[in-house]
Amino acid sequence: MGAQEKFPGVSIVNGRLAVNANHSFFGEIVEKGYRFWDPNRSKLGAALMKGLKELPIKFGSSVLYLGAAHGFTTSFISDIVGSAGIIYAVEFSERCFKELLPIAEKLKNVVPIKGDARMPETYSWIEKMDVVYCDIADPQQTEVAIRNCSAFLKPKGYLMIAIKTQSIDVTAQPATVAQAEADKLRKAGFDVLEVLNLEPFEEKHYFIVARSRA
């Protein structure tokens, strides 16, 4: 197989994205130790396929994942951070959460939290993180991410945010919305490292990687 490692634990195998793992939760294909990652179902997967330059999520990282939904992307991050890492997966929707819960219980390095990302004080018992990953469809998503960073991000930590431009402003150009959100991050004390357009995997979605200056 033509396998090329892009980041530790993340490879492109014959043109397809994969992590090193042997389990399968959503019917994804597992072959010879590679667990294939459908970029159409995961914004982080899409960002990796679109040429993400730096992946702050590494073996042993602690990640706060806001908007974990059914746990698809979460399960791949779980494979990357491994047993030395930990993911705090926050999901508000009860329906999604009920599907996330059994997967989290199997993965063992995922801490499921049924909570509202807009109110970080309700889960203030968690620890400081290397990375905050935010994927919530909320018009205030960037503000919510920043608030969570100021509560839980370690100094010089990373923020990864998937921007659904349609839930911020349906009438504006998606690129304009993404730039406006990047500016908000700069004002809040972040260096914006990358802004990626996720087409054709996700329409009108952008992916921003930023790093806290403090």
């Binding site: 047993s83 009860e94 989290a104 219980e105 499921p112 049924k114 203030s124 968690i126 620890e127 839980f152």
Partner: protein, 331 residues
Amino acid sequence: MAIYLAANPLGVFAVSEGKIVWKLLFGKDSLQAAKKLNSWKTLPEVIETIKRFSALTDQPNPASEYLSTHLREIAPEAGFNPGELGLFLSATGAELSKLSITSTERRDKIIVQAVSALNDLDKILNLKTERLREWFGLHYPEFSMRDHEKFVTEIMAKGSREKFDNYHGSHGISFKAEDISTVQLYATALRTDYELRKKLEAYLAVMVKEEMPNTTALLGTLLAARLLAQAGALEKLAKMSSSTIQLLGAEKALFRFMKARGREKVKAPKFGILFTHPDVSGAPRDKQGKIARLLSSKLTIAARADFYSKENKGEALLKEYKEKVAEALRE
């Protein structure tokens, strides 16, 4: 110096000037830890400590900040080696979340599912009845019966065209015995769907009146249930502005209008599912929007009363609403 209290899955800790001055460990059992963390401020030892130190417990505070920064250092003192900690946190998070799920379940979710089932059933009934009409129409095209349910019942009972009253010959094709028995079989199955629909509607009527009496007073049971289903939950409906309620079910038209931003001749929608209310659909065209607005403004109050106060003011709201409608129609 002020003493702050905060809790995490390991226990409750009192922190002063960056040092832990008191602690209560929860132990290694995840379920117990989750239960204690869920209501840590009411634990007797904690209440005593709050009194003794006049400790501050609002979250977040310097103590919660200290705990989240130093969790990994505190863990060995609580008896966890690094390998165990992740597993314990994961299990405790799961238990804690399960506690919050069971405590927030409400009856309105059942209504939402039942309404959706009813909506599905309506679609199925139309589809199947149409098929039966075409199918049986081959045999007896002259037979007319506007009411769907009666039509189905007739075919189920009679089957062959010769058995119908007032049968005076037909242009349709003749059916063999097995053609007739198959059509009858289909009609019989369809008939049970109509029975199911009636039962569902009766069940919903009782549920909706109990769960949202004020909204029901204004809309009747079926429309109230549909409005709830459209909103997703009673809490959501209660938090909506009246303009949002007015346009529930018209999201597509609303976004089309917003995208056009007045550049094209796209008109703003005036109502969504509220259009099915007889006051709105029965009003003259130029008054429909106004009446939908009056209705939704009263619905906002009704939904809030249903969710928060549980106070019964349906009749008063209905009276006020009727007066305003009469006034609007006079103008």
